[in-house]
Symmetry: C2
Subunit: 346 residues, 2 copies
Amino acid sequence: MNITILFGGSSYEHEISIVSAITMKKVLKKSTLTYIFVSDDRAFYLVDTDKINAKLFSSGAYKKGKKLTLKKGGFFSDTLFGSKVVTSDVTLNLIHGRDGEDGKIAAMMDFYSIPYISPRLEASALSYNKLYTKFLAQNLGVKTVPYEYLSQGDERKIVMPYPVIVKPVRLGSSIGVSIVRDVSELDYALDVAFEFDAEVIVEPFIEGVKEFNQAGCYTDKWELSLIEEPQKEVFLDFEKKYMDFARDSQVLEAQIPDALKTKIQESFKTIYDPLFKGSIIRCDFFVVDNEVLLNEINPIPGSMANYLFENFEAMVYRLSGHLPKESKIKIDYQYIHSIQSAKGKA
Amino acid sequence: MNITILFGGSSYEHEISIVSAITMKKVLKKSTLTYIFVSDDRAFYLVDTDKINAKLFSSGAYKKGKKLTLKKGGFFSDTLFGSKVVTSDVTLNLIHGRDGEDGKIAAMMDFYSIPYISPRLEASALSYNKLYTKFLAQNLGVKTVPYEYLSQGDERKIVMPYPVIVKPVRLGSSIGVSIVRDVSELDYALDVAFEFDAEVIVEPFIEGVKEFNQAGCYTDKWELSLIEEPQKEVFLDFEKKYMDFARDSQVLEAQIPDALKTKIQESFKTIYDPLFKGSIIRCDFFVVDNEVLLNEINPIPGSMANYLFENFEAMVYRLSGHLPKESKIKIDYQYIHSIQSAKGKA
């Protein structure tokens, strides 16, 4: 299968997207990979699969590659005789953060009828925004960590007891996130978060909370990963997460009772279906007092959480065969015709 | 000012978008208009402003126009010597329904740094979906009409008393909407709605309910329209709405007490700010027992509700000067550099 990997983007997670993309070379071994890089100014470049490495981007050498244009049916390069499509069976959206996770890439792939693996526009808009994720979960009956919401102009006052964790509403990968141990630290944490977003949410920081990650997708059946209990320091900082995106071998399954496993799996399915069809996502759950709480939806996890699956590549192939398609809308101009014939009679 | 009007699209409201676009010729009289048509298969065509009329599209004659490509900075036409941008100060997104109102056009305009008047991606995703609109309003403390939610596989059972109104979750312009007077009619109405969407909402149908429409935007100040009490038959059917999109002269203001007017205006502002910045939207409110309930958000109303404003064109100019801009993200490759220098030392 010929798979296009779309990565980079105008995103704070641009660099970890590069790491994520390079990791795929070790994961998708049976496939022919086509790498398309989205530069920080959002130009598309074809990158030689044999030569891809991190330095290619940090040095700017990628600019010597072919520039591509996105049009109906795919990415095109200019030739002497018009333009030529870069052939591919499916595109993996591996742009973490803005552009990739906020729905822009999904919008363009749908608009131009390009088969792709990624959360669709609506799923992206809801999961990229931590406040909307709460609405979604509430509506679906999935419990979440309690929260308070502050926007930039609001009074800087919270009701919940300390310690708390302050998060910008829209970013991923711990950027702009702080733990606040008492009220004296709140102001600074909000300053940091408001650097990145005009809205923040505040959640209780639960020391030593049990966390479990579940990834998966729906092809013609449920394909759920093993459940991992991630090893955390206080919380994952950006550099730690950065390394995390390079993981390419399967991790150990968390040793948890069957009842808990089932609860986590059911919560995952409730969140996923039908909104996230077409994508491989990871949900991060907390377990508090034997209750499963959704912490975060990771709509495009680092290298799509390959390390949680036994055979990630085979699953990508199956998913490629079961992607949601937009309905075709037939335009027959019957209203314009009927108005025109009415005018003709007048 | 040179204004591009983007219209058409792969949408059930493709034809009313054409009507809406043509109406703008009578509304934006001082401007130089550039018309760009999105065909049903999503190709972009430049349309001659002097020759635009409904028949151009229903006959397929538009295909003789220049085909355009969307790239960074604008729409481009191919010339003998490369490609040439179609110049414009601002683009009005006048695509009603799918593509325009679901966030795809917004995504592309932001991705390619093209100044545009339209709800942004997130605002579109939330207002295009009637269920998410309820979440949004609830979170903002704006009351809505009560509702029940059904997805295609659910048991076809509702709790609220009849009559009710059944709406597909995602469409506009009354498409797929039915009034259901008793349980015997429910099945058929759901069949109709499920033709268009896998999810529906059911609301009480309130005979003779008072409805008021408020449009507006935020430039460097609030610019609120007069409030209209729309004349309705049972409810606006598609052909009636179709004609509605051709309105180009100011309507009469509803005669309502100041207190009610203020309530409607405040509800509008709460919904609009900050999510809808950059757009001119119309909110449709019901008044029941002296309470103002949000019925629907119309993120791209027919000809953007020009008929509710005294000087629509001047407002478009002011809004063009106050469009939200995406923050610039600087990529400095510091993480890749630090990893490389760590490796170098090893």
